[in-house]
Amino acid sequence: MKQKFVKRVCRDLGRMSLVLIVFLVLWQIIITVWHISSPFAPSPLEIGAALSSSIKTGELTSDVLVSLQRALTGFVSGSLIGILVGILTGRVKLIDHTIGQLIRLFRPVPSIALVPLVIVWLGLGEIGKYALIFWGVFFPVWINAHLGAAQLDKRIMWAAQSLGVTRWRGLYEIVLPSALPFVIAGMRTGMAVAFVVLVAAEMAGAFGGLGYRIYISHQVFRVDKMICGIFILGVLGAISDVVFAAAVDAIPWRRGILEDSHAP
């Protein structure tokens, strides 16, 4: 199971890198052949130079670490709370009619719309970033956990009850594992949302991070550095997505529950 997971991640990342290299080479060729050279349209080689110089100064590493910490903190907390609340609203009517309704009320609000408000309330520090990303991640995870919990065949619950499971233990023993494929799909969406919100929050006001770097580079017309940041964000997003796809695949009982096009 673990081996399959690692193999799958390596395979997918390998394929992606290959395509990326071909893409960059073609881009470079086009720029070289047609002599398109402008500070506003840097070539891959120029971007590479900007990348290596920002690695040397330590700027890139610190930006990546700061951004990753924000994204992960918001993602993990949003996922955990999303799963917990989703299981509860999916199975307990009273909770669904109260907390569930409240969540449905807030769900349509795009988290980016909250950025200015969060800055007023929580300032430019880390807590504000965590809160925004938490907000963005919570909803897709919640709705999927909720649907996964609600779709459970009543016969499976009955079978479990006739084997002596109690209501609350059933949530953990039966509802959570049966909702897991849904939960993972929700977390995958949540991860993508986390990056969107991260960048929006960092651009609106921060003292570091990839979004901040892109924004600051824009102020001084350093298009090469902007593309550098965009590129790193793309790579991070792609890696996390591949990891999730592989995680779904590694569930040994997933066949017949979740069919996706990635099946080998």
Binding site: D153, K154, R155, I156, W158, A159, A160, Q161, S162, L163, G164, V165, R169, E173, I174, P177, S178, L180, I251, P252, W253, R255, G256, I257
Partner: protein, 273 residues
């Protein structure tokens, strides 16, 4: 089976009625049903599709509450699901995220038995239903017949006194189904549990049961009780015996009347009769 005089675990229903309310419609599923199933008995509810026979089983299981009437096990009214009453459903209700062993030992885990001991007991029941070697497989890796064996093993391993079976072999092919019926009989004869079996298959009911409760079309009431006085142990050869044919003719007539009521086609009825 030895008759049990204590009748401590007799299942009794008095005036049992269940009415479903949904989508602005009131659907009576069971109406004024009376029956008594003795401890250790293998009783079948036989009825046409959609007659409400599964509802009866779900009431005995404690999964749904009767709208009217009473249902008892011994002297205790049934108020909810209990590990005293194991279940086997038609569509696999196995825990797809657990292995065969994980499924079979689940009830024992709920009782707080330690991992080693419950695994040992689970493996005994897995062997009993002929699935030794499949302990670590997941349900989706097994055929339909094997999945039903796991269901049976899971219900048995928890050692309930009553096992409720809702058309458990309904989705299996004919050969597998008859193998499963023989397996069920051998297990029942060995453990002497009360089995309440719901089916629409006349042959299945006669082959298995001590007594058949033939039900009317929806809402289900008792049409007639048929005692199956065929000798035990039974094998498939019994299905061609004179006595069997006689019972089958009688039961078929009863069921046919109800089926025609549902279909509501008088011309067809006269022509066929």
């Amino acid at each position: 089976m030895l008759p049990n005089n204590k009748s401590a675990k007799t299942i009794r229903a008095k005036g049992l009625s269940v009415t479903y309310v949904g989508a602005g419609r009131i659907v009576p599923a069971v109406s004024g049903l009376n029956f008594e199933i003795k401890e250790g008995e293998l009783a079948c509810f036989l009825g046409t599709t959609g007659c409400g026979k599964s509802t009866i089983l779900n009431v005995i299981g404690g999964f749904i509450q009767p709208t009217k009437g009473d249902i008892f096990v011994g002297a205790d009214p049934i108020r909810g699901p209990s590990s005293e009453r194991g279940c086997v459903f038609q569509q696999s209700s196995l825990f797809s995220w657990k292995t065969v062993r994980g499924n079979v030992e689940f009830g024992l885990k709920m009782k707080g038995m330690n991992r080693g001991k419950r695994g040992e007991i689970a493996d005994q029941y897995i062997r009993l239903v002929g699935l030794a070697g499949f302990e670590k497989n997941y349900p989706n890796e097994l055929s339909g017949g094997m999945q039903q064996r796991v269901e049976l093993a899971r219900a048995l391993a928890n050692e309930p006194s009553i096992i409720l079976m809702d058309e458990p072999f309904g989705s299996l092919d004919a050969q597998t189904r008859s193998m499963m019926q023989e397996l069920l009989l051998s297990i029942w004869q060995r453990f002497g549990k009360t089995i309440v079996f719901v089916t629409h298959d006349v042959d299945e009911a006669i082959f298995l049961a001590d007594r058949i409760f033939v039900l009317t079309a929806r809402p289900a009431t008792l049409k007639q009780e048929v005692a199956v006085s065929l000798p035990r142990p039974r094998t498939y050869e019994i299905t061609t015996s004179e006595k069997y044919i006689e019972i089958k003719r009688r039961v078929l007539t009863l069921i046919r009347e109800e089926t025609l009521k549902v279909l509501g086609a008088p011309e067809t009825a006269t022509r066929d009769n």
